[in-house]
Subunit: 320 residues, 2 copies
């Protein structure tokens, strides 16, 4: 939850006047999203999300993110659509920050995902991967496998303060992943952060995907591995085989995995666990005093990583 | 900004099913209100604010607050109206907390109040005081003059750490207020917290009053004194006479002040400054580590208090 930037009403009115969306009726900061400031904006023309991009987002990446949402929406993915101002621009400036308006999506993210949600997200992820084909822009994964060792180097000296032996365990894992990371798997645009809070449902029916601000190019099956980590573990740390099966089966129905992807799934899942372990560790060690955001526990992902190391094949995740 | 409590989607669905408001389409935690958790709830029937009352609100006071909003709305004050469940109850329970649904009000609170806003709030405050007549429930002001000395006693030993000499200055002020506090002024239901973030406007037209969770019985002119403090000072600490004049003139057009109220206005304004100085000081000295809320600066109200001490009569505030 985070609202980093206040917007004066007259500045907002000036911003909105650039669009064909009528008059502002209400604008409330919403407690969703950690990287940016989001407002739920109501105008005489409808509902929108107004996002101010804070300093963790590189402004140079915004054309990729906004362009991707347009591309996906045109190809049938239910996701926020950037609203163009009268001059055609989807990116503006408000309160000294890059800012964009996107359409409002109905639905709620599931606080306690059930099997049906996992099936829904598997199907939607495959749909996203297929719809991403032909998108003209490219964004390398800044948090991909090559980035993990330099990222860990910033925290290695203090990792043992979070859990004894953590420095050595991650060091060993990074070496194993560097040696065993797959090559040449089918690649394309991935969401890279499709956690439950980025997937909306109405009841058990998926109603939209949001937050494309980590989207990039990488192996498609790596995105699936991220979802296995994000959706198929229980609060007590146990892997839920039924959820894994639902997610993988629904994905494969839309986009069947090739043999190399199936073989790589355990190592991709280890990599995905390491990626979130490392960013959480980084943030955990750098909580500013009086922070507005409570950091997420890195050790949740250490438990997941250990599970994946013990996995023999993709069948252990529920792949039929 | 504060969202203290997460609500699971299935718990929300169960809660909403008690009302005739259709199906939930969206529910977003909003970054407004410090005491409670607020969600902007969209259903097939419209928009609502869902409030979970957190521990700073006494559940025994909720019938007063909800009843007052109903009473005021029936008498033409634009404020949130509690929505009754099918069984007639306006108070329910959600996520282990007392919870209520109220109607959604359009408008935005003014981040930089101008003279027209001050006139609007003066008129609306008088309207609220008149509409409050005949409300059947009573709630003594828990933060009224009698409460200030005991409240200060909890912070007196550490007040000098906030500003040198603060303990002595507040002590002297409390003695002066206890000796000079007016008696027998017209009393009734007051809002007691009508700051800019509790008053909505569409452009310069006032569109509603919110947050009645400090409302209580006290001198009506004390409520006006709170507004003088909250609306008529500039960010640099200077009193804005034009704003004071606009606020007072608009108030008196709806509800003329009696001579005793006029005479008491400076001491009421001092008291109002002390009340916010003391609660801010209390919170400032008790910020929990990792707090989600940045406390407000108590010294802003020390400056206002000193201004009021130098005031000769209500004419100095702009009363004609």
């Amino acid at each position: 939850m985070a609202v980093y930037t206040e917007v004066a009403d007259e500045d907002l009115a000036r911003f909105v006047a650039r669009y064909d969306i009528g008059r502002v009726l209400s604008c409330k900061g919403i407690a969703e999203g950690v990287e940016n400031t989001n407002f739920l904006l109501q105008t005489t023309a409808g509902h929108f999300i107004l996002t101010l991009y804070e300093k963790r987002v590189d402004p140079g990446d915004l054309p990729f993110f906004l362009g991707l949402m347009q591309h996906l929406a045109r190809r049938g993915v239910i996701c926020p659509q950037p609203v163009a101002a009268r001059d055609g621009a989807t990116l503006g400036e408000l309160a000294g920050r890059p800012a964009a308006l996107v359409t409002f999506l109905e639905g709620m993210w599931p606080r306690r995902p059930v099997v049906e949600h996992c099936a829904g997200v598997g199907r939607a992820l495959a749909g996203l991967h297929l719809a991403g084909e032909g998108f003209g822009l490219v964004r390398p994964n800044a948090l991909g496998q090559a980035a993990w060792a330099p990222l860990f180097a910033q925290s290695a000296d203090r990792a043992d303060s979070v859990a004894p032996g953590l420095t050595a365990e991650i060091g060993g894992e990074l070496a194993a992943l560097a040696a065993g990371w797959p090559q040449g798997l089918p690649a394309g645009v991935i969401h890279a952060d499709l956690f439950p809070d980025n997937v909306f449902f109405l009841g058990n029916r998926l109603s939209g995907l949001i937050d494309f601000y980590f989207a990039c190019d990488d192996f498609l099956a790596y995105d699936l591995a991220i979802c296995l980590n994000a959706w198929c573990f229980e609060p007590d740390g146990a892997f839920n085989f039924t959820k894994g099966q639902a997610l993988l089966t629904a994905y494969c129905r839309e986009r069947p995995l090739g043999p190399a992807e199936v073989a790589a799934l355990p190592v991709l899942a280890r990599g995905a666990a390491v990626r979130f372990l490392l960013t959480r560790l980084h943030d955990w060690l750098r909580v500013p005093p009086g922070a507005l955001v409570v950091p997420k526990d890195p050790l949740e992902y250490l438990g997941k990583l250990r599970f994946h190391r013990a996995v023999a094949s993709a069948r252990d995740y529920g792949l039929l």
